[in-house]
Protein backbone atom coordinates (compact mmCIF):
# COMPACT_ATOMS: atom_id res chain seq x y z
CA UNK A 1 0.00 0.00 0.00
CA UNK A 2 1.64 3.23 -1.08
CA UNK A 3 0.93 6.42 0.78
CA UNK A 4 -0.77 9.10 -1.25
CA UNK A 5 1.72 11.86 -2.05
CA UNK A 6 1.11 14.47 0.61
CA UNK A 7 3.34 17.36 1.56
CA UNK A 8 5.98 16.35 4.10
CA UNK A 9 6.32 18.55 7.13
CA UNK A 10 9.52 20.48 7.43
CA UNK A 11 11.34 20.85 10.69
CA UNK A 12 13.53 23.71 9.76
CA UNK A 13 13.84 25.07 13.29
CA UNK A 14 16.38 22.37 13.98
CA UNK A 15 18.44 23.39 10.98
CA UNK A 16 18.64 27.11 11.73
CA UNK A 17 21.53 28.93 10.15
CA UNK A 18 23.85 30.99 12.27
CA UNK A 19 23.02 34.69 11.96
CA UNK A 20 25.99 37.05 11.58
CA UNK A 21 26.68 39.49 14.39
CA UNK A 22 27.42 42.55 12.28
CA UNK A 23 26.96 43.34 8.61
CA UNK A 24 29.54 46.12 8.42
CA UNK A 25 32.71 46.15 10.47
CA UNK A 26 34.47 49.17 11.99
CA UNK A 27 36.48 49.77 8.81
CA UNK A 28 33.31 49.90 6.74
CA UNK A 29 33.95 46.50 5.18
CA UNK A 30 30.99 44.20 4.61
CA UNK A 31 30.67 40.45 5.11
CA UNK A 32 31.80 39.71 1.55
CA UNK A 33 34.72 42.13 1.72
CA UNK A 34 33.05 44.98 -0.14
CA UNK A 35 33.06 48.65 0.73
CA UNK A 36 29.75 50.40 1.33
CA UNK A 37 29.53 51.83 -2.19
CA UNK A 38 30.85 48.80 -4.04
CA UNK A 39 28.88 46.62 -6.46
CA UNK A 40 29.17 42.86 -6.43
CA UNK A 41 31.26 41.44 -9.29
CA UNK A 42 29.17 41.33 -12.46
CA UNK A 43 29.32 39.24 -15.62
CA UNK A 44 26.91 39.66 -18.55
CA UNK A 45 26.44 37.74 -21.78
CA UNK A 46 24.03 38.26 -24.66
CA UNK A 47 22.50 35.82 -27.16
CA UNK A 48 22.78 32.66 -25.05
CA UNK A 49 19.55 30.83 -25.95
CA UNK A 50 19.19 29.53 -29.54
CA UNK A 51 15.38 29.35 -29.57
CA UNK A 52 14.52 32.72 -28.04
CA UNK A 53 14.35 35.81 -30.28
CA UNK A 54 16.58 37.59 -27.78
CA UNK A 55 18.33 36.40 -24.63
CA UNK A 56 20.86 37.36 -22.00
CA UNK A 57 22.54 35.89 -18.92
CA UNK A 58 23.86 37.80 -15.92
CA UNK A 59 25.78 36.95 -12.76
CA UNK A 60 26.00 39.51 -9.99
CA UNK A 61 27.64 38.16 -6.84
CA UNK A 62 25.82 34.86 -6.40
CA UNK A 63 22.79 35.93 -8.42
CA UNK A 64 22.38 34.01 -11.68
CA UNK A 65 19.71 35.33 -14.02
CA UNK A 66 18.61 34.10 -17.44
CA UNK A 67 16.14 35.99 -19.65
CA UNK A 68 14.49 34.91 -22.91
CA UNK A 69 12.43 37.27 -25.08
CA UNK A 70 9.95 36.33 -27.78
CA UNK A 71 8.23 38.73 -30.17
CA UNK A 72 6.79 40.99 -31.14
CA UNK A 73 4.24 38.43 -32.24
CA UNK A 74 0.47 38.15 -32.45
CA UNK A 75 -1.00 38.74 -29.00
CA UNK A 76 -2.37 35.53 -27.56
CA UNK A 77 -5.03 35.22 -26.17
CA UNK A 78 -6.66 37.83 -28.38
CA UNK A 79 -8.29 39.75 -25.57
CA UNK A 80 -5.00 40.99 -24.15
CA UNK A 81 -4.15 42.78 -27.41
CA UNK A 82 -4.18 46.57 -27.39
CA UNK A 83 -5.36 48.35 -30.53
CA UNK A 84 -2.70 51.03 -30.47
CA UNK A 85 0.36 49.37 -28.99
CA UNK A 86 2.18 46.15 -28.21
CA UNK A 87 1.81 44.68 -24.73
CA UNK A 88 4.68 43.29 -22.71
CA UNK A 89 3.94 40.00 -20.99
CA UNK A 90 6.55 39.66 -18.29
CA UNK A 91 7.12 36.69 -16.00
CA UNK A 92 9.56 36.79 -13.09
CA UNK A 93 10.11 33.26 -11.87
CA UNK A 94 12.52 31.61 -9.44
CA UNK A 95 13.83 28.11 -9.96
CA UNK A 96 13.03 25.80 -7.01
CA UNK A 97 16.76 25.29 -6.44
CA UNK A 98 17.59 28.99 -6.54
CA UNK A 99 17.17 29.60 -2.81
CA UNK A 100 18.21 27.91 0.41
CA UNK A 101 14.86 26.31 1.18
CA UNK A 102 13.52 24.71 -1.97
CA UNK A 103 10.85 26.98 -3.42
CA UNK A 104 7.67 25.69 -5.02
CA UNK A 105 7.67 26.41 -8.76
CA UNK A 106 4.11 27.76 -8.56
CA UNK A 107 4.10 31.57 -8.73
CA UNK A 108 3.95 33.20 -5.31
CA UNK A 109 2.34 36.56 -4.64
CA UNK A 110 5.81 38.07 -4.61
CA UNK A 111 6.51 36.59 -8.07
CA UNK A 112 3.30 38.13 -9.35
CA UNK A 113 4.05 41.57 -7.89
CA UNK A 114 7.60 41.53 -9.21
CA UNK A 115 6.44 40.48 -12.67
CA UNK A 116 4.24 43.56 -12.73
CA UNK A 117 6.77 46.13 -11.48
CA UNK A 118 9.44 44.74 -13.77
CA UNK A 119 7.12 45.02 -16.74
CA UNK A 120 6.38 48.60 -15.75
CA UNK A 121 10.11 49.28 -15.46
CA UNK A 122 10.74 48.08 -19.02
CA UNK A 123 7.67 49.54 -20.76
CA UNK A 124 8.83 53.18 -20.89
CA UNK A 125 11.91 52.09 -22.81
CA UNK A 126 10.24 50.09 -25.55
CA UNK A 127 8.58 51.60 -28.63
CA UNK A 128 5.36 49.72 -27.99
CA UNK A 129 3.37 51.98 -30.29
CA UNK A 130 5.27 50.67 -33.34
CA UNK A 131 3.61 47.23 -33.09
CA UNK A 132 -0.07 47.45 -32.21
CA UNK A 133 -1.99 44.27 -31.38
CA UNK A 134 1.17 42.29 -30.72
CA UNK A 135 2.81 41.05 -27.56
CA UNK A 136 6.41 40.93 -26.44
CA UNK A 137 7.11 38.10 -23.98
CA UNK A 138 9.84 38.56 -21.41
CA UNK A 139 10.67 35.48 -19.35
CA UNK A 140 12.98 36.03 -16.40
CA UNK A 141 14.34 32.93 -14.70
CA UNK A 142 16.30 33.29 -11.48
CA UNK A 143 18.59 30.26 -11.37
CA UNK A 144 20.29 31.28 -8.15
CA UNK A 145 19.22 34.10 -5.83
CA UNK A 146 21.18 36.18 -3.35
CA UNK A 147 19.30 39.44 -2.94
CA UNK A 148 18.51 42.10 -5.54
CA UNK A 149 17.06 39.69 -8.10
CA UNK A 150 14.37 42.04 -9.36
CA UNK A 151 17.05 44.57 -10.27
CA UNK A 152 19.25 41.91 -11.83
CA UNK A 153 16.18 40.69 -13.73
CA UNK A 154 15.50 44.12 -15.18
CA UNK A 155 19.11 44.68 -16.25
CA UNK A 156 19.18 41.28 -17.94
CA UNK A 157 15.76 41.73 -19.55
CA UNK A 158 16.83 45.01 -21.15
CA UNK A 159 19.80 43.21 -22.71
CA UNK A 160 17.56 40.45 -24.00
CA UNK A 161 15.14 42.98 -25.52
CA UNK A 162 18.02 44.75 -27.27
CA UNK A 163 19.36 41.37 -28.42
CA UNK A 164 15.95 40.65 -29.96
CA UNK A 165 16.24 43.79 -32.06
CA UNK A 166 13.21 45.38 -30.40
CA UNK A 167 13.46 49.16 -30.78
CA UNK A 168 14.10 50.90 -27.47
CA UNK A 169 14.43 54.53 -26.41
CA UNK A 170 17.22 53.58 -24.04
CA UNK A 171 18.52 50.59 -22.15
CA UNK A 172 17.11 50.02 -18.67
CA UNK A 173 19.44 49.18 -15.82
CA UNK A 174 18.60 48.52 -12.19
CA UNK A 175 20.36 48.51 -8.85
CA UNK A 176 19.37 48.69 -5.21
CA UNK A 177 20.80 50.52 -2.25
CA UNK A 178 19.81 50.00 1.36
CA UNK A 179 20.69 50.37 4.97
CA UNK A 180 22.81 47.82 6.82
CA UNK A 181 24.01 48.38 10.38
CA UNK A 182 22.79 51.96 10.12
CA UNK A 183 24.92 52.70 7.05
CA UNK A 184 23.70 53.27 3.50
CA UNK A 185 25.15 50.53 1.30
CA UNK A 186 24.99 49.65 -2.39
CA UNK A 187 23.71 46.38 -3.88
CA UNK A 188 22.63 44.50 -0.78
CA UNK A 189 22.99 40.76 -0.84
CA UNK A 190 20.43 38.48 0.74
CA UNK A 191 21.84 38.39 4.29
CA UNK A 192 22.16 42.19 4.32
CA UNK A 193 18.63 42.61 3.02
CA UNK A 194 17.13 40.19 5.54
CA UNK A 195 18.89 41.61 8.58
CA UNK A 196 19.31 45.21 7.38
CA UNK A 197 16.95 48.12 7.88
CA UNK A 198 15.90 49.16 4.37
CA UNK A 199 16.12 48.30 0.70
CA UNK A 200 15.53 50.69 -2.20
CA UNK A 201 15.54 49.09 -5.67
CA UNK A 202 15.78 51.55 -8.57
CA UNK A 203 15.53 51.04 -12.35
CA UNK A 204 16.97 53.74 -14.57
CA UNK A 205 17.17 54.74 -18.24
CA UNK A 206 20.69 56.22 -18.35
CA UNK A 207 20.55 58.52 -21.39
CA UNK A 208 17.12 59.89 -20.62
CA UNK A 209 17.97 60.05 -16.89
CA UNK A 210 14.56 58.60 -16.07
CA UNK A 211 13.63 56.35 -13.16
CA UNK A 212 11.23 53.58 -14.21
CA UNK A 213 11.12 51.47 -11.06
CA UNK A 214 11.26 52.65 -7.47
CA UNK A 215 10.32 50.66 -4.44
CA UNK A 216 11.28 50.86 -0.84
CA UNK A 217 10.75 48.84 2.27
CA UNK A 218 12.20 49.48 5.71
CA UNK A 219 12.82 52.64 7.65
CA UNK A 220 14.78 55.61 6.33
CA UNK A 221 14.99 59.27 7.24
CA UNK A 222 14.52 61.66 4.28
CA UNK A 223 18.30 62.26 4.26
CA UNK A 224 19.03 58.55 4.26
CA UNK A 225 16.54 58.02 1.46
CA UNK A 226 18.21 60.72 -0.64
CA UNK A 227 21.59 59.14 -0.04
CA UNK A 228 20.24 55.72 -0.96
CA UNK A 229 18.59 56.80 -4.18
CA UNK A 230 21.72 58.67 -5.29
CA UNK A 231 23.85 55.66 -4.51
CA UNK A 232 21.50 53.36 -6.40
CA UNK A 233 21.59 55.60 -9.48
CA UNK A 234 25.39 55.62 -9.35
CA UNK A 235 25.29 51.83 -9.19
CA UNK A 236 23.00 51.83 -12.23
CA UNK A 237 25.48 53.94 -14.18
CA UNK A 238 28.29 51.49 -13.44
CA UNK A 239 26.15 48.56 -14.52
CA UNK A 240 25.18 50.42 -17.70
CA UNK A 241 28.83 50.42 -18.79
CA UNK A 242 28.82 46.64 -18.45
CA UNK A 243 25.55 46.35 -20.39
CA UNK A 244 27.02 48.22 -23.34
CA UNK A 245 30.15 46.09 -23.25
CA UNK A 246 28.06 42.91 -23.25
CA UNK A 247 26.01 44.02 -26.26
CA UNK A 248 29.05 45.13 -28.20
CA UNK A 249 31.30 42.22 -27.30
CA UNK A 250 29.33 39.74 -29.36
CA UNK A 251 29.98 41.86 -32.41
CA UNK A 252 33.66 42.32 -31.64
CA UNK A 253 34.05 38.54 -31.42
CA UNK A 254 32.61 38.23 -34.93
CA UNK A 255 35.11 40.81 -36.16
CA UNK A 256 38.03 38.98 -34.58
CA UNK A 257 37.15 35.81 -36.48
CA UNK A 258 37.87 37.41 -39.89
Amino acid sequence: MKATKKKTKKETETLSKKKPETLVDKKGIRLDGRKLDELRPVKMEVGVLPNADGSAYLEQGRNKVLVGVYGPKEAHPRHIAQQDRAVIQCRYHMAPFSVDERKSPAPSRRDIELSKVIREALEPAVFLEYYPKTSIQVYIEILQADGGTRCAGITTAALALADAGIPMRDLVVACAAGKADGKIALDLMDTEDKIGDADVPVAYMPNLEAITLLQMDGNLSPDEFEKAINMAVEGCKQLYVKQKEALKSKYVVEEAEE
Binding site: T8, L49, F97, S98
Partner: protein, 266 residues
Amino acid sequence: MTSPIVIRVKKKRIIELLASGKRTDGRGPTDYRDIKIESGVIERAEGSARVLLGKTEVIVGVKISTGTPFPDVPDTGVLTVNAELVPLASPDFEPGPPGEDAVELARVVDRGIRESKAIDLKKLCVESGKLVFVVFVDVYILNHDGNLIDASAIAALAALMNTKMFKYEVVDGEIVKKPGYTPLPMVNYPIAVTFAKIGDKILLDTGLDEEQVMDARLTMTLDKDGNVCAIQKGGGSGYFTKEEILDATKTALEKTEELRKIVVKG
Protein backbone atom coordinates in the same frame (compact mmCIF):
# COMPACT_ATOMS: atom_id res chain seq x y z
CA MET B 1 2.79 22.99 -24.88
CA THR B 2 1.17 24.02 -28.14
CA SER B 3 2.07 21.77 -31.04
CA PRO B 4 3.91 23.71 -33.71
CA ILE B 5 2.78 23.41 -37.29
CA VAL B 6 5.17 21.13 -39.13
CA ILE B 7 6.36 22.28 -42.49
CA ARG B 8 5.26 19.70 -45.03
CA VAL B 9 8.35 19.86 -47.24
CA LYS B 10 10.53 19.55 -44.14
CA LYS B 11 8.79 16.34 -43.12
CA LYS B 12 9.08 15.03 -46.68
CA ARG B 13 12.78 15.78 -46.74
CA ILE B 14 13.48 14.09 -43.41
CA ILE B 15 11.67 10.95 -44.56
CA GLU B 16 13.38 10.99 -47.98
CA LEU B 17 16.81 11.25 -46.40
CA LEU B 18 15.99 8.48 -43.93
CA ALA B 19 15.05 6.20 -46.80
CA SER B 20 18.71 6.32 -47.83
CA GLY B 21 19.84 6.01 -44.19
CA LYS B 22 20.76 9.69 -43.79
CA ARG B 23 19.73 12.27 -41.22
CA THR B 24 19.54 16.02 -41.86
CA ASP B 25 22.68 16.76 -39.84
CA GLY B 26 24.64 13.83 -41.25
CA ARG B 27 24.40 11.64 -38.11
CA GLY B 28 23.91 7.89 -38.17
CA PRO B 29 20.66 6.43 -36.77
CA THR B 30 22.13 5.66 -33.34
CA ASP B 31 24.52 8.62 -33.03
CA TYR B 32 24.06 11.06 -30.18
CA ARG B 33 24.84 14.73 -30.65
CA ASP B 34 27.75 16.26 -28.71
CA ILE B 35 27.18 16.06 -24.96
CA LYS B 36 28.61 18.58 -22.53
CA ILE B 37 28.14 18.18 -18.76
CA GLU B 38 29.03 20.79 -16.14
CA SER B 39 28.52 19.93 -12.47
CA GLY B 40 28.05 22.24 -9.51
CA VAL B 41 26.75 25.18 -11.56
CA ILE B 42 24.35 26.31 -8.81
CA GLU B 43 26.56 26.55 -5.71
CA ARG B 44 23.70 27.24 -3.31
CA ALA B 45 21.94 24.02 -4.25
CA GLU B 46 23.08 20.80 -2.62
CA GLY B 47 23.82 19.45 -6.09
CA SER B 48 23.42 20.62 -9.66
CA ALA B 49 24.41 19.99 -13.25
CA ARG B 50 23.98 21.63 -16.63
CA VAL B 51 23.82 19.46 -19.71
CA LEU B 52 24.02 20.41 -23.38
CA LEU B 53 22.88 17.71 -25.80
CA GLY B 54 23.35 19.33 -29.19
CA LYS B 55 21.47 22.59 -28.57
CA THR B 56 19.09 21.13 -26.01
CA GLU B 57 20.01 22.63 -22.65
CA VAL B 58 18.87 21.39 -19.23
CA ILE B 59 19.76 22.39 -15.68
CA VAL B 60 18.94 20.13 -12.75
CA GLY B 61 19.12 21.36 -9.18
CA VAL B 62 19.01 19.06 -6.14
CA LYS B 63 17.79 20.41 -2.82
CA ILE B 64 17.72 18.42 0.39
CA SER B 65 15.51 19.11 3.35
CA THR B 66 13.89 17.06 6.06
CA GLY B 67 10.42 15.71 6.50
CA THR B 68 8.30 12.83 7.70
CA PRO B 69 8.55 9.56 5.81
CA PHE B 70 5.65 7.84 4.09
CA PRO B 71 3.90 5.57 6.63
CA ASP B 72 4.45 2.38 4.62
CA VAL B 73 8.22 2.95 4.33
CA PRO B 74 9.10 4.56 7.67
CA ASP B 75 12.86 4.13 7.40
CA THR B 76 13.31 5.41 3.87
CA GLY B 77 14.18 8.88 2.60
CA VAL B 78 11.84 10.60 0.15
CA LEU B 79 12.62 11.33 -3.50
CA THR B 80 10.62 13.87 -5.50
CA VAL B 81 11.24 14.76 -9.14
CA ASN B 82 9.68 17.78 -10.82
CA ALA B 83 10.17 19.18 -14.32
CA GLU B 84 9.47 22.62 -15.74
CA LEU B 85 9.23 23.36 -19.45
CA VAL B 86 9.88 27.04 -18.85
CA PRO B 87 8.60 29.34 -21.59
CA LEU B 88 12.00 30.79 -22.47
CA ALA B 89 13.08 27.37 -23.73
CA SER B 90 10.78 27.26 -26.73
CA PRO B 91 8.16 29.35 -28.55
CA ASP B 92 5.82 26.40 -27.96
CA PHE B 93 6.11 26.40 -24.15
CA GLU B 94 3.59 28.51 -22.28
CA PRO B 95 3.83 29.79 -18.72
CA GLY B 96 1.68 27.97 -16.21
CA PRO B 97 1.56 24.77 -14.18
CA PRO B 98 3.24 21.67 -15.67
CA GLY B 99 1.23 20.20 -18.53
CA GLU B 100 1.17 16.53 -19.47
CA ASP B 101 4.57 16.72 -21.23
CA ALA B 102 6.30 18.18 -18.19
CA VAL B 103 4.63 15.69 -15.87
CA GLU B 104 5.55 12.75 -18.09
CA LEU B 105 9.14 13.96 -18.32
CA ALA B 106 9.40 14.24 -14.53
CA ARG B 107 7.85 10.84 -13.91
CA VAL B 108 10.03 9.05 -16.48
CA VAL B 109 13.19 10.57 -14.97
CA ASP B 110 11.88 9.72 -11.49
CA ARG B 111 11.16 6.12 -12.43
CA GLY B 112 14.71 5.62 -13.70
CA ILE B 113 16.23 6.89 -10.45
CA ARG B 114 13.74 5.17 -8.17
CA GLU B 115 13.51 1.74 -9.77
CA SER B 116 17.28 1.43 -10.19
CA LYS B 117 17.57 2.39 -6.52
CA ALA B 118 20.22 4.87 -7.58
CA ILE B 119 20.04 6.66 -4.25
CA ASP B 120 20.41 4.52 -1.13
CA LEU B 121 17.29 5.99 0.44
CA LYS B 122 17.65 3.86 3.56
CA LYS B 123 20.76 5.85 4.44
CA LEU B 124 18.60 9.00 4.45
CA CYS B 125 16.66 7.95 7.52
CA VAL B 126 17.31 9.99 10.64
CA GLU B 127 14.72 8.46 12.92
CA SER B 128 12.48 5.71 11.66
CA GLY B 129 8.88 6.78 11.29
CA LYS B 130 9.64 10.35 12.35
CA LEU B 131 12.35 12.11 10.42
CA VAL B 132 13.99 11.45 7.07
CA PHE B 133 15.76 13.49 4.41
CA VAL B 134 13.76 14.60 1.39
CA VAL B 135 15.60 14.85 -1.93
CA PHE B 136 14.06 17.31 -4.41
CA VAL B 137 15.25 16.92 -7.99
CA ASP B 138 14.09 19.84 -10.16
CA VAL B 139 14.57 19.56 -13.91
CA TYR B 140 14.64 22.90 -15.72
CA ILE B 141 14.63 22.89 -19.51
CA LEU B 142 16.44 26.00 -20.80
CA ASN B 143 16.45 25.29 -24.55
CA HIS B 144 14.39 22.70 -26.42
CA ASP B 145 16.04 21.17 -29.45
CA GLY B 146 14.71 17.66 -29.05
CA ASN B 147 15.24 14.64 -26.79
CA LEU B 148 14.44 16.32 -23.51
CA ILE B 149 14.08 12.98 -21.70
CA ASP B 150 17.59 11.68 -22.29
CA ALA B 151 19.16 15.08 -21.62
CA SER B 152 17.16 15.46 -18.40
CA ALA B 153 18.02 11.97 -17.18
CA ILE B 154 21.73 12.61 -17.75
CA ALA B 155 21.51 15.98 -16.00
CA ALA B 156 19.60 14.46 -13.07
CA LEU B 157 22.19 11.72 -12.65
CA ALA B 158 25.08 14.20 -12.86
CA ALA B 159 23.35 16.50 -10.36
CA LEU B 160 22.75 13.66 -7.91
CA MET B 161 26.36 12.56 -8.22
CA ASN B 162 27.35 16.16 -7.48
CA THR B 163 25.08 16.36 -4.41
CA LYS B 164 26.59 16.84 -0.98
CA MET B 165 24.77 16.68 2.32
CA PHE B 166 25.96 18.23 5.55
CA LYS B 167 27.24 15.90 8.25
CA TYR B 168 25.07 15.69 11.33
CA GLU B 169 24.38 13.88 14.55
CA VAL B 170 21.10 13.29 16.31
CA VAL B 171 20.84 14.86 19.76
CA ASP B 172 17.57 14.41 21.67
CA GLY B 173 15.75 13.56 18.49
CA GLU B 174 16.94 16.73 16.75
CA ILE B 175 19.41 17.16 13.94
CA VAL B 176 22.58 19.01 14.86
CA LYS B 177 24.93 19.92 12.03
CA LYS B 178 28.56 18.94 12.19
CA PRO B 179 31.30 20.45 10.08
CA GLY B 180 31.91 18.85 6.73
CA TYR B 181 29.92 17.28 3.95
CA THR B 182 29.25 13.81 2.71
CA PRO B 183 28.20 12.84 -0.82
CA LEU B 184 24.63 11.69 -1.39
CA PRO B 185 24.77 7.89 -1.07
CA MET B 186 24.53 6.66 -4.68
CA VAL B 187 24.69 2.98 -5.61
CA ASN B 188 23.42 2.89 -9.16
CA TYR B 189 23.63 5.01 -12.30
CA PRO B 190 20.55 4.82 -14.54
CA ILE B 191 20.75 6.07 -18.13
CA ALA B 192 17.78 6.63 -20.43
CA VAL B 193 17.86 6.24 -24.21
CA THR B 194 14.90 7.28 -26.32
CA PHE B 195 14.14 5.64 -29.66
CA ALA B 196 11.96 7.48 -32.17
CA LYS B 197 10.06 5.88 -35.01
CA ILE B 198 9.67 7.79 -38.27
CA GLY B 199 7.91 5.71 -40.88
CA ASP B 200 9.65 2.37 -40.46
CA LYS B 201 13.01 3.79 -39.36
CA ILE B 202 14.13 3.87 -35.76
CA LEU B 203 16.45 6.67 -34.55
CA LEU B 204 18.15 7.68 -31.32
CA ASP B 205 18.52 11.22 -29.99
CA THR B 206 16.04 13.04 -32.17
CA GLY B 207 16.60 16.71 -32.90
CA LEU B 208 13.59 19.00 -32.74
CA ASP B 209 12.90 18.68 -36.48
CA GLU B 210 12.85 14.90 -36.30
CA GLU B 211 10.72 14.92 -33.16
CA GLN B 212 8.08 17.02 -34.89
CA VAL B 213 7.58 14.33 -37.52
CA MET B 214 8.02 11.17 -35.47
CA ASP B 215 5.18 8.71 -35.11
CA ALA B 216 6.09 7.36 -31.67
CA ARG B 217 8.95 7.14 -29.20
CA LEU B 218 10.18 4.56 -26.76
CA THR B 219 12.35 5.39 -23.78
CA MET B 220 14.33 2.67 -22.02
CA THR B 221 16.22 3.27 -18.81
CA LEU B 222 18.91 0.76 -17.89
CA ASP B 223 20.98 0.55 -14.73
CA LYS B 224 24.70 -0.08 -14.39
CA ASP B 225 24.23 -3.86 -14.70
CA GLY B 226 22.25 -3.56 -17.91
CA ASN B 227 18.93 -4.30 -16.24
CA VAL B 228 15.88 -2.54 -17.56
CA CYS B 229 14.34 -0.44 -14.83
CA ALA B 230 11.94 1.80 -16.71
CA ILE B 231 10.25 1.92 -20.08
CA GLN B 232 7.93 4.51 -21.55
CA LYS B 233 6.23 4.54 -24.92
CA GLY B 234 4.93 7.93 -25.92
CA GLY B 235 5.36 10.80 -28.32
CA GLY B 236 2.63 10.18 -30.83
CA SER B 237 -0.07 7.89 -32.05
CA GLY B 238 2.22 5.40 -33.81
CA TYR B 239 3.23 1.93 -32.72
CA PHE B 240 6.22 -0.41 -32.33
CA THR B 241 6.37 -4.09 -33.24
CA LYS B 242 7.61 -6.63 -30.72
CA GLU B 243 10.74 -7.20 -32.86
CA GLU B 244 11.49 -3.49 -32.91
CA ILE B 245 11.18 -3.34 -29.15
CA LEU B 246 13.45 -6.32 -28.54
CA ASP B 247 15.99 -4.94 -31.03
CA ALA B 248 15.85 -1.65 -29.22
CA THR B 249 16.63 -3.40 -25.94
CA LYS B 250 19.88 -4.70 -27.44
CA THR B 251 20.84 -1.27 -28.77
CA ALA B 252 19.91 0.26 -25.43
CA LEU B 253 22.35 -2.02 -23.62
CA GLU B 254 25.23 -0.86 -25.79
CA LYS B 255 24.21 2.78 -25.87
CA THR B 256 23.53 3.25 -22.16
CA GLU B 257 26.99 1.86 -21.37
CA GLU B 258 28.55 4.39 -23.72
CA LEU B 259 26.60 7.29 -22.22
CA ARG B 260 27.15 6.14 -18.64
CA LYS B 261 30.92 6.34 -19.19
CA ILE B 262 30.56 10.00 -20.13
CA VAL B 263 28.50 10.84 -17.04
CA VAL B 264 30.22 8.75 -14.41
CA LYS B 265 33.72 9.61 -15.53
CA GLY B 266 32.76 13.28 -15.21
